[in-house]
Symmetry: none
Subunit: 403 residues, 2 copies
């Protein structure tokens, strides 16, 4: 994994810009043996040219065989070993819907559940109510007030929501209120360290009030909270790697993870690759490193939409000239993990990685950006946490180590 | 290397079975430059079909350049870093001949040696006496009794034997009695920690009695003991990886290592691949994970029998349909290390690895199971300790890490 002290000691001034273009869930699988993956099926003349001029490889997101969630997968690509830098579930869930969680604020993930007249849980997921049904309930929760603290609640998906509490003297060491089984009531929020007594009591107050406003709902008539956590205080990406860093992303989750490591978030309208590359162009002179995130590859993968995922990749490919005319010194194109349409979920498979850096790259003999070509690429198979030093090196932004 | 806490947190229920088929010492070398290895020379239509449908790679047993013994090599394949999980030589030697060593029992490896009339060692290996000559001597040793403890002695090979002492209050911290040179007498068994005083004294008593029964032998008229050790209390494989696990192996050594990590050992008659696969079939419904061990590839390698090793591989290939008709979700075919017939010994070379998992595998473009194809395989080159997470992932037995 990346050694941050090593990185801090090797900063070197240089003018070349670095772009890390992440197509979420890029890695795929063939639908039948010997067939192409989504990326291989896509017509990508620009990416294939970059593959020819650059070098390929495959990145292992966390460790071989480990399927990452989006948070850990991005931390890995940013050089933070996700097994060392743990971000709590509550913070990640909040970040995922655009809630900023700062040091001293306590975030949790919430689930609606169903309780019987005695208060015992009969369904831990409230019959998996739809988002349409859950959103008005979350709006009711958002109206609940507790003295001395500010509470923000946002809907996530179906029966899930995120909640964050802000105020003085809050600490996040609180056990889950979800008993993980039915036939018993939700647990009270209990501190696991003395300093979290106050936050636990305030959450219990909030839970009691919140349950009143949803008590009449036929299924989502109670709730549980889990993953209490706060901003983990990750080392600063610009400080560790010595680059002024910006994020261009449509979805709050990815902007949130970038903020957690101290990147600046560039605002823009629209949700197409062209819109994102235009935002990149506007910020071009103010930063050294750009993380650009494309979401829809992953969404199509999750939906099992093989052709759709290929089409999203083709859209990115078509928009690439706009990015290239900015003149990056280094462009990496990869994903945070694989989301094969065949399996409709994140997977552990290594992720195609393309590194283009005209001044410094050692090219290999691969001429198409695809999984099989990447498995044969000159970069080999490497941990995602090794990507950042490679990008910095190719931008000549790292000093020699040792005399 | 495998992170056991991570593994424990990711268990996921699934129905697919996993088979890890280990051909001992599978990796080989060409007899002349450009020639085939033993595996490449073998006619293996079934393995080649699996290679075509699956993905290849090469596993590094311990670290690059490190030649493993059988114990560490198997621990690595089971996900236990052999540099972290040390099993004492005495235990491994005992395990290798079918002696079960439990916590609180003390095992040691024994060597016959030759001493002169003054008791000074003249040959540390007793002229490398043959097994035929050593076995009756070991039978004499096995008759020696020491009050309060039970002692088991078994022959290993030539001048080597294994001994284990069982009784109350025994601890294994005892220095080797082999002085590692000639011209001096064997050392007494000396405790290196106070708690091992009792065991050391009892071993000295046994050594004195044992030397009496072999004193008249012309070369093997004394003995030394080394590698005093006990069951290292390895984490339980079924508990770490969340799979009910069974071992199918002909040789005691491999059953022993499997038992050390808590696998169940399936009993069966015969020593052919067909016999082993039949045992696998009988246990099929009772376990999730099966370690199947083929010994004779290694034996042929050690004998320098290139053609014989190829023939053993062909025998496994021919029997494979019997295994495949059981319908495993994941089948890995590999070795624990290389034993090239050319070198007649274990070596450090990476080991061919074939992963077949029709529902989840990302195939590569390799179509033959062999060392060169594996070096180009989609799995790349990886540490053997990474194999287990890969197998579990492909059986969809691991949850996602993080949100």
């Amino acid at each position: 994994m990346t050694d941050f002290d090593l990185m801090r000691g090797l900063h070197r001034a240089a003018s070349g810009k670095i772009v890390l273009l992440v197509m979420d869930g890029l890695g795929g699988l063939p639908l039948e043996p010997g067939g192409p993956t989504e990326l291989e099926a896509a017509h990508t003349p620009n990416l294939d040219r970059l593959a020819t001029e650059g070098v390929l490889g495959q990145a292992v997101p966390i460790r071989p065989g480990i399927t990452p969630g989006s948070g850990p997968a991005h931390l890995g690509l940013f050089g933070y070993d996700p097994l060392t830098y743990i971000v709590g579930r509550g913070v990640l869930e909040g970040v995922g819907v655009g809630i900023v969680v700062r040091k001293g604020e306590v975030a949790a993930r919430g689930n609606f559940c169903t309780v019987d007249p005695e208060g015992k849980i009969t369904d831990r997921r409230a019959g998996r109510i739809s988002s349409g049904e859950a959103i008005p309930l979350v709006e009711k929760l958002a109206q609940v007030r507790v003295p001395d603290v500010e509470i923000e609640v946002r809907h996530v998906k179906e029966y899930r929501f995120a909640v964050v509490m802000r105020g003085p003297g809050l600490q996040p060491d609180i056990a889950d209120t979800d008993p993980q089984r039915t036939g018993v009531p939700p647990l009270p929020a209990r501190p696991t360290k003395p300093g979290s007594q106050k936050a636990a009591e305030l959450f219990n107050t909030w839970i009691a009030e919140a349950r009143k406003v949803i008590a009449e709902h036929p299924t989502a008539n109670a709730l549980t909270l889990r993953g209490f956590s706060t901003d983990p205080g990750l080392p600063s990406f610009p400080e560790v790697f010595g680059v002024r860093s910006a994020c261009v992303a449509v979805y709050p989750m990815y902007r949130g993870v970038a903020e957690l490591v101290g990147m600046s978030v560039l605002k823009f309208e629209g949700d197409m690759p062209e819109d994102e590359f235009a935002a990149l162009a506007r910020g071009w002179n103010d930063f050294d490193f750009f993380f650009v995130h494309i979401k829809k590859t992953d969404s199509c993968g999750e939906d099992g939409d093989f052709a759709g995922k290929s089409a999203v990749i083709e859209g990115v490919d078509a928009a690439l000239p706009r990015l290239l005319e900015l003149g990056p010194a280094v462009l990496a194109v990869t994903g945070d993990h694989s989301t094969p349409a065949k399996l409709k979920t994140h997977t552990w498979h290594p992720v195609p990685f393309l590194l283009w850096a005209p001044a410094t790259v050692r090219t290999d003999d691969q001429k198409q950006f695809g999984e099989t070509a990447c498995a044969h690429g000159g970069l080999g198979t490497f941990l995602a946490t090794d990507a950042l030093p490679l990008l910095l090196a190719h931008a000549q932004r790292l000093e020699k180590f040792g005399a």
